[in-house]
Every structure is written in C-alpha cells, then in structure tokens.
C-alpha cells in the first residue's frame, strides 16, 4: 500500500497540473515528461512546461466493460485529446453526455476522481476533460 502511494504521489504535478517538458534544443513540448526528447533524443535537463489544459477531441469511445477499480463509473467515455500546444493525451471525458461528444469538440482539463480501490484503498485523482465552456460575452 505504501509503495502504491508513492507510485501515484510522484506524478502529482502531471495528474493535477498537466506539467510536461519543453526540449531546450528542438523546442518540442512533451506530455508526459521524459528524460530524453522524443523528437531529437537530446538528454539535457528539460525545463518544466505548464500546458494550458485546452484542446480538442481527436477520437473517443465508451467503455462498458470496465477494468477493476473503474466499474462504478462505467460506462464512461475515454478520449485522445489533442492539446493546443501539440501533444495528444489519453483521458476520460466528463460532465458530458456520451452521445453529444464529437471529434473536434473543444475541451478543457478539470480534476476528478480517476480510480477508487474499495473502502480503504487510495483514491486517485487526476485530469479529465470536459466540454469547454463558452466565454460569457
């Protein structure tokens, strides 16, 4: 259980804040962060990069047969979201009816419960995406 906590705790800045990296050499923005640039293989220390959390739906589907730990939220919609800074990210969509989701729909990041492990287990929180709210005029 304690190691399970560390495994998730060390990803807090990714799960809660969408912190990735930008390659100092070629400038590509990466999420999740890596030790070696995925484009130019540069391995110098890559500074953090805060993603805006805005993007659009690249693809989506609905999971009915959920794996252990996810049954209580099934059926749920998972998506590949194209972040406005470039990378694709895998996440659930939330605050939306499945039938209203479409490719290209603008979405934004919110923090939600990802997984529960019974009554005593750790509850894991992280990013999901919801339809981007229209800016009030």
């Amino acid at each position: 259980m304690t190691t399970e906590i560390a495994r998730h705790w060390r990803l807090n800045s990714q799960r809660y804040q969408l912190v990735g990296e930008v390659c100092p050499k070629c400038g590509v923005k990466m999420f999740p962060p890596r030790d070696v640039c995925m484009e130019c293989a540069d391995d110098t220390r890559q500074p953090d990069f805060q993603f805006s959390g805005r993007g659009e739906v690249y693809s989506f589907t609905t999971v009915h047969n959920a794996p252990e730990g996810y049954q209580e939220s099934a059926p749920y919609t998972v998506a590949l979201v194209k972040l406005e800074e470039g990378p694709l990210i895998t996440a659930q969509l939330t605050d939306v009816v499945n039938s209203e989701v479409e490719i290209g729909m603008p979405v934004e990041m919110v923090t939600r419960k990802l997984r529960a492990q019974g009554e005593e287990g750790v509850i894991i929180y992280g990013y999901k995406f919801r339809p981007r709210l229209a800016v009030a005029g």
Binding site: S59, T61, V63, E68, S73, L88, A91, Q92
Partner: protein
C-alpha cells in the same frame, strides 16, 4: 550468420482448456513439435508468454516448461512482448541458431487466459499499454483499438461495415481448421448487427481470448535434411518498436513498427510485398488488419479496407490473409498467437493446410503485434524443397 529452418511444428486446439494448465498446454505443443521433427533433445527453449504472472501467479516460465517437458538442464527463458511474445520468442530462437551458439532450438508460445475471466484479465491485458498515462484513465485494450478505429473512419471516410470482409474471411477460413476456436462462418448481416463492445468496435471486430500453445523446432538449414524432407526456411526475421502509448505516436493511424519491421524483412529476403503468396497478419481487431496491410506495403494509406471489399484477402485473392482463421476466428491466446501464425505459415508452405491450402504457396509472411502497434515482429518463410 547461418541459414535457419523450421523442422518441426506442433499446436494444441485454441479454446477453453478447463482441464489443462499452462504447463500442460506448453508440453502438448512442445512434444508434438519434437515428434514432428523426430528429435529427442534440444539445446535451448524459448517460451513466449504474456500473462502467466498476472493470471496463473506463475513467473519463471522458461524453467517450468523445460522441467515439465522432460528437458531439465537445457537453457530456457521466457520472452515477453505483450501479444507479440511468441514471435519475439521465435526470433530469439532464430538468433540462437543463426549465431551458431545453438543448433537445435525450441520456441513455444503458451497462454492460459481462462484461469481468470473478467475484470482482472482485462487489467492484465491493459498492462501492454502505459500504466501511468493510459491505463490509469480506465483505458482497456478494446478501447485503444476503438480510439484508433474511430479516428480512421473519420479521417478516411470509411464505414464500420467496410471492415466486414476481414471478419467474414477469417471465419470462413477457420471453418476448415480443426484447431480453430470458432469454426462457424458468419455473414455481413451478422457483422453489421453484432453487439457493440466499445464504439465503433463490435463483437465481430474483435478476436476472442483463449487458451492455447504452439511450438516449432529450429535448426541450421544445412542439417535440416537429417530430420525432415519438408523443412521451411526462415528467409527474414525483424522486430521493430514504436512508442509504447498510442498518444505519443506521430501518426496514431500508421503502424510505424509494421513498416519498419516489414521493410527490414523485405530487404533481408530480397523481395517485395508483391512476391508474398499469403500473409498471416495480426487481426486482433479488424482495424489492425487494415493498418497492417497498409504499413506492410499491400495497400495505400487509408485503403486497407479496400482489399477486404474487393475480396483480395480471401484464399483466391491477391494477398490471402488469416488463411486458417487468423486471430479473429482461430482465436487469440495472446502470448501464443505469434507461434500459431508461424505454425500455420509452415503448414501452408508444406502443403499441409487441407481445405485452407493456398495453391503454389512458396513465400509466406507472418506479423505479430504487441500492444496497439508498439512491438511488431515480421517473418518471411519459404519452402526449401520443391
């Protein structure tokens, strides 16, 4: 580098083997292959398997299978590369013989999936994807394929029913394979009306999970005649990797590792896709069949389903695929699948494929995919004796 040939093949039927455990299934396939090759000993055993630790609570599979197959003492290890484990194990066996370090080598793929059904099995299979950035979001293996298929349909303006030919061909071919899990033909109507698993993936787009084991024996080609008159030569062997997660791909609709491994294989063999007589591809989902045909040079980008629509993938077509049922209908015991493909390719080239026999088959290709395209192993085989 020495030239290497297959001198023996063996397999168990694919299905639900409630009375046989992991070790017994592996033994059945190994023993059948050893009998087929007329050998009583080997220098090494490579075991392809994905889920023994997760499902059967059993690690250390190389030693277990060697021990139970009466081969105690020989070199033996497990090779794991998700659904590509068996072809990866076969490639290690090939490297062992080609290098000159080992002479007679066994490769076996085995998977026991029915010891755990439902949510835990689904979680185990998801282990092929990125645990921290895909699986944590409740993604399943089916869902990853659904994400790719939906985008594919959107980008190339393809309908789900355009994929029907892949499933229909697989089931039609499996009807003549006694070792196949589903020996029933299906119709286009069945395909269109089947239940949805994860939109747009329907039940008949997806291959069934199953138990099974398949094995081959390898030796240097120059020694093959001592054991058999119908040795099958390994003309090319290549394994390539891509990003582990789908979201990190430059183009999620392109199997770069399939292109890389197939191009390396064509180069080794000195041939092109037009020379291949049949192709055992990894139709775990219909979308994977389309993507594999495109990246391996049989169809243009976005045109993979055209081959299915035109009947070119059937036994009489230009590039027959899944000739003994494929993953879709023979069944997909994940860590064993790559060796089923290779055993079936050997059957075709030996002329032992019964009612599935491709006429004048001289060159066959197999392609085994781990994860949603992350590890892809391509092999090309040819008849040694005409």
């Amino acid at each position: 580098m020495r030239d290497v040939s297959i001198i023996g093949i063996g397999q168990t039927p694919v299905g639900e083997h409630w009375g046989r455990s992991l070790r017994h299934l592996a033994y059945d396939a190994v023993a059948a292959a050893m009998r087929n090759a007329n050998i009583e000993r080997a220098d090494a055993l490579y075991v392809g398997n994905m889920l023994s630790g997760e499902i059967s609570g059993q690690s250390h599979l190389g030693t277990l299978i060697a021990d139970f197959a009466g081969l105690r003492g020989i070199e033996a290890v497990k090779v794991e590369a998700a659904c590509a484990s068996a072809a990866a194990a076969f490639r290690q066996a090939y490297i062992g013989v080609a290098s000159g370090l080992q002479d007679i080598v066994i490769a076996v793929g085995v998977e026991k999936m029915t010891d755990d059904v439902g949510t835990q099995l689904s979680a185990g299979l998801a282990g092929a994807a990125d645990a921290d950035y895909e699986v944590i979001h409740g993604i399943t293996f089916v869902a990853l394929n659904a994400l790719i298929m939906k985008r594919y349909m959107h980008e190339y303006n393809v309908a789900r029913e355009d994929f029907a030919g892949f499933a229909i061909n697989a089931h039609a071919n499996a009807a003549a394979n006694n070792n196949a899990m589903f020996q029933n033909p299906i119709t286009k109507k069945d395909f269109v009306n089947c239940g949805v698993v994860a939109d747009p993936v329907g039940l008949l787009d997806a291959s069934p999970m199953a138990d099974g084991a398949a094995a081959v024996i390898l030796c240097p080609t120059e020694q093959a005649r001592e054991f058999t008159d119908n040795a099958i030569r390994i003309k090319a062997s290549a394994l390539a990797t891509d990003t582990l997660s789908v979201h990190d791909r430059r183009d999620p609709l392109w199997l770069q590792a399939a292109e890389d491994s197939s191009m390396r294989a064509y180069k080794q063999a000195g041939i092109g896709p037009e020379d291949i007589d049949f192709f055992e591809l990894h139709d775990a989902f219909t979308i994977m069949a389309a993507l594999s045909l495109e990246a391996s040079g049989f169809a243009q980008r976005g045109h993979g389903t055209w081959l299915a629509l035109d009947g070119e993938i059937t036994p009489e077509g230009k590039i027959p695929i899944s000739t003994r049922g494929g993953l879709k209908a023979r069944g997909h015991p994940v860590g064993a699948t790559g060796l089923y493909q290779i055993v079936e390719a050997a059957q075709q080239l030996r002329g032992e494929a019964g009612n599935n026999q491709i006429k004048n088959a001289a060159l066959g290709m197999t392609q085994n995919i781990g994860g949603s395209g992350a590890t892809i192993v391509t092999h090309i085989f040819e008849r040694v004796n005409q």
